[in-house]
């Protein structure tokens, strides 16, 4: 008999991703079926946006940064605008802040619903996938009627917003929310009662509170492990102190908890949007904004659908940003999932990966794309 090999067995996954239709390359080292180490390689959709922002003026950079992600584009432009407005000392008027906040929560609605569909597809529940994507069109229609675009709404200006929200629009949003709320009840019923669905989610990819805390998990992933991290509550921005959301937590830390937390959060978003629609402050939409921003550094953070979005913005007093550092929630959560996947079955990896709702465009952003000669 030959001796047992001590060589490591590495299973490469990707660049075509096992769960989402986006590219990343993973290497899982396995012992039998159990994952013993994991690493990742990004860059397949890298566009050089951080460098690009330094070569544009403050306004142009906002439109570029908005294009980091098609799903949470408004989150990127809002966090950037908040940071630059802080540096300039010119806050947006209250009505503009309210409109930004409504858009952020609508974005959360369609982002989480997209994820419910993708994750249901991974779990082999195609009907739920179809339902949630069909229902999501309600939010997309609202956003389109508001801004003319389904994604990249370009609603923000430095110092305000472009579009006002009239009573007719508010009514159509309310009608949309009524329909969605009913559907959310149905999703919740499925993820908490359907037997075959629960077999794919309950006890899978479990992260304990302690693990989530030390691995630095954020967003719904953290909250499903009972780690109370939500910037809307911890560090309220826009009008979140007057129109607050209640933080949604679960203690199980498994995939099912991540479903429950995300759906529950949407009920909170729906409730908050309704309050804000009826209490939207009157007034101007924009403030006069300077072309040059005083020298300084600031950190702006907001709660994007996938977790805390971190921007470090530096001005040296000129018309262009001197540095814009973007740390997206997906990158932070990838670290938790890579470390967290160790010890799990390889077959559960796709579900564990999709459990964090990874966004590849968000990770990949900061070098120049070289075209083929």
């Amino acid at each position: 008999m030959t001796s047992v090999s001590k060589e490591k067995f590495v299973i490469p996954i990707g660049p075509q991703h096992p769960a989402l239709k986006e590219p990343a390359h993973f290497e899982f080292t396995v012992d039998g079926e159990t994952v013993t180490a994991a690493s990742v390689r990004f860059g397949y959709v890298h566009r050089g946006i951080e460098k690009g922002a330094e070569n544009r003026n403050w306004t142009q950079a906002m439109y570029l940064l908005e294009r980091i992600c098609g799903i949470c584009s408004h989150a990127h432009s809002t966090v950037y605008a908040l940071g630059v407005e802080k540096l300039a000392g010119v806050p947006a008027p209250p009505r503009a802040q309210g409109i930004r906040q409504i858009l952020l929560e609508l974005e959360r609605l369609h982002s989480h619903m997209l994820w419910v569909g993708v994750a249901a597809h991974e779990a082999g529940f195609e009907t739920l996938f179809m339902y949630s994507w069909r229902d999501r069109e309600t939010v997309m229609d609202i956003l389109e009627s508001f801004s003319g675009n389904r994604v990249n709404y370009s609603a923000n200006l430095l110092g305000g917003v472009k579009y006002d929200l009239g009573p007719a629009q508010a009514d159509s949003i309310r009608r949309g929310l009524d329909f969605l709320e009913e559907r959310l009840h149905y999703y919740m019923k499925i993820v908490t009662t359907d037997e075959s669905f629960q077999r794919r989610t309950r006890g899978v990819g479990t992260m304990t509170t302690n693990e989530a805390e030390t691995l630095g998990a954020i967003g719904p992933v953290a909250r499903a492990s009972n780690v109370a991290r939500d910037l809307r509550v911890d560090a309220p921005y826009l009008l979140y102190d007057q129109f607050p959301v209640t933080i949604v937590l679960a203690s199980e830390g498994d995939l099912q908890a991540r479903f429950v937390v995300r759906i529950q959060e949407l009920f909170e978003s729906v409730r908050m949007i309704r309050n804000l629609l009826s209490g939207l402050p009157e007034g101007e939409l924009t403030a006069r904004f300077p072309r040059k921003i005083p020298a300084g550094e600031t950190i702006a953070r907001i709660e994007a659908p996938r977790g805390g979005l971190f921007y470090f913005i530096k001005s040296d007093g000129g018309e262009n940003p001197a540095r814009v550092k973007v740390r997206t929630p997906s990158l932070r959560n990838f670290m938790s999932v890579l470390v967290g996947s160790v010890g799990h079955q390889l077959a559960d990896v796709p579900m564990i990966l999709s459990g964090i709702d990874p966004c590849f465009s968000c990770n990949d952003r900061m070098i120049t794309v070289r075209r083929r000669a």
């Binding site: 070569n55 630095g216 670290m335 470390v339």
Partner: protein, 155 residues
């Protein structure tokens, strides 16, 4: 709340930094020597003071000859930033992965984008840059100029 958190964080790293500033009401910036990084980051991590939210690389330009690595720890609204000034020639910091294993992706990004060496980091492979990216070219340094796009091929 935020003041209390900042005070607690500051107490953890007492005597381990060179100077401190408060750029915004929810932030404290601590300038540290590279040799103090593991002690500072370790103290914050061991006490579970928030989490390492990001590592920012900064290039202060060719004339200044300085780079800077910023380690941002976030705890609710409070942010403590450890600022490590580095020379543009041969910038070296110790890796924090021994204390914070999940920092590996941040360090890989810092290394390839700014040419900062994170000594002892478990994985120094490229994270974002293509495999055929030339060695010694760090795209987020100020002396790296974005090449003009090649002309569109004829249809």
């Amino acid at each position: 709340m935020t003041e209390t958190l900042l005070a607690q964080g500051l107490q953890l790293v007492e005597g381990k930094f060179v100077s401190q500033t408060a750029p915004e009401s929810n932030r404290i910036d601590l300038v540290i020597e590279p040799a103090q990084l593991t002690a500072c980051a370790g103290a914050l991590a061991a006490a579970h003071w928030g989490y390492l939210s990001a590592i920012t690389g900064l290039d202060h330009g060719m004339e200044s000859g300085k780079l800077e690595a910023l380690y941002h720890f976030c705890n609710r609204a409070a942010v403590i930033t450890l600022r490590v000034p580095l020379p543009r020639e041969n910038p070296v910091v110790p890796s924090v992965c021994g204390l914070i294993p999940s920092a590996t992706l941040f360090e890989r990004e810092l290394m390839e984008m700014f040419g900062v060496v994170c000594e002892g980091t478990p994985d120094s492979r490229r994270l974002f840059l293509p495999d055929d990216w030339p060695d010694g070219k760090y795209p987020l340094r100020k002396d790296f100029l974005v090449p003009a796009p090649a002309p569109e091929p004829e249809a």
